[in-house]
Symmetry: C2
Subunit: 346 residues, 2 copies
Amino acid sequence: MTVKDIPIFLRACKREPTEYTPVWLMRQAGRFLAEYRSLRRQYPFLILCKTPELATKVTLLPIERLGVDAAIIFADILLPLEPMGISLEFTKGEGPVIHNPPRSRAEVERLRGIEAEEDLPFVMEAIKAVCRELKGRIPLIGFSGAPFTLASYLIEGGGTKDFVRTKSLMLQDPSCWHILMEKLSAAVISYLNAQVRAGAVVVQLFDSWAGILSPRDYEEFVLPHSRRIFHELSSKVPAIHFATGAAGILEQMKTAGGDVIGIDWRIDLDAAWRRLGYDVGIQGNLDPAALLGPPERIESRVAEILHRAEGRPGHIFNLGHGVLPQTPEENVITMVEAVHRLSKDK
Amino acid sequence: MTVKDIPIFLRACKREPTEYTPVWLMRQAGRFLAEYRSLRRQYPFLILCKTPELATKVTLLPIERLGVDAAIIFADILLPLEPMGISLEFTKGEGPVIHNPPRSRAEVERLRGIEAEEDLPFVMEAIKAVCRELKGRIPLIGFSGAPFTLASYLIEGGGTKDFVRTKSLMLQDPSCWHILMEKLSAAVISYLNAQVRAGAVVVQLFDSWAGILSPRDYEEFVLPHSRRIFHELSSKVPAIHFATGAAGILEQMKTAGGDVIGIDWRIDLDAAWRRLGYDVGIQGNLDPAALLGPPERIESRVAEILHRAEGRPGHIFNLGHGVLPQTPEENVITMVEAVHRLSKDK
């Protein structure tokens, strides 16, 4: 295998030079695709996740259509909570609802450990099927929610605006907090390593809500657990460490780990990379809302971000968060095409 | 009048040395106070705001009890929208609802200009009454929402998680966006200057949601308007410029204006002040959730923030956002007392 045979997305993860900047989108297999919406009218969300044939189909939906440089397995970050003993439901409009959020030390201690291959076999089967279909053309990304983000859904019983219950547990009963984070970390490690064994060649840790914490709280209550995950991850694959609103905790996120740090649009990419240092890659960082704007503006925003990356190896283009459901498909295609074309000129 | 007669809060706004670090809390006259909750059982929220005797009473509620160094007039950032032609309601649990959000250029153009003294006389009467009661013991802060934050409520029709309608207008019809921002800016200028004429000796511009924007969007769509406000503000009083989640746009916020920049807890205070430069003051930045924790932890967090401020003149202690309704009153008192005691040692 020559260097040219290694997919450019994988080379970018290792900060090796590439002919153009690779690009994929968080939620690229999601609600903005007409075919996905049509599948969702036939099947509830969790059925899509848990039926390998359907999850495979959804994972592959955007690949040809959008021209992205990586696939990401279709799943939900909350799936590993079910085998831990959590009753999970996705309600229309309201998002995830957890019916038995652990609110005491006894309830936290009752959470079960998982063996991902046995407890989430449908994810591994879908990964194997996707890899068979992709035939190595583009890499498949596996992923998991990070312990903090999982803990916040778990404790709040679903989404939240202010994370008050989560922070209350953290501050009022730190030892219970750390027990919970250890249990979640063990589950995440099992889950990610199983995905790698099944065929994922990159993993992304979604700590989507870590940016809601002060740097100091992140350091005490989150960093040690995320760091353990990166240490115990299979060293065979590059890891992307992602959070939103994390402009105040970039240095701490890097300390926790990851070959590539994923950032959102709320900080300039050049400022973020300078602070992180050029010994890690960077992923981002177009505002998903920019894809609602006119095509000329999409192209100019893509150009600005590429300009800030200065053609430096190790930049993976992405949105700063998931693509919005109301995004026109043609705007996504415009973006992907612009990333490829404009980064070739560099 | 000797220097000692000038309230320390005002001296801190001008970055003059003070005997201890002044402190107040956003929403210090709010729902965490039992007396406020009892008033709210008698009167709807907007009646409290619009009845000068009641607004005066609420403004003064926390002063003796908490020992804070400034009062802030009790009002709501959305009040100036009503005389502009907006129908505003506060629903139980859901927060503000705007019944006629402008969604077209014609609707934006129909928004009326305001003369704050005539259109919001109840606010000015309350300010005068509070000043009579305070007798100069501590300063009274006037405030307004910033144009971007007002625009977001206006366009979304209330609170929002993703600001999609707001960003869509911004990106798809920039000239309509700027018309809206100009109208809102004119209203804010009239409103703040009227508050100063009525007796407010400091003003705070709340751009609470500006941190949701990329630095680039902030610069194009927000900065020119906020800058105009600071230029046209009465030069007699210091101005505080506040936003949350703004770790990525601090430099731009400073460029827009303000004698003091208010930050939230999602960035370390020393890192933020270094980036802003020491030619502006800084306000912040305890996580409101920290006030739910045990008193020892509150005191240690206060100590950490004071340590990061290094006893440098120009630090005003505050939370990073409004005090949470579920906060025990005694924890707020613990915080205020700790700020005063620990900063005297510096």
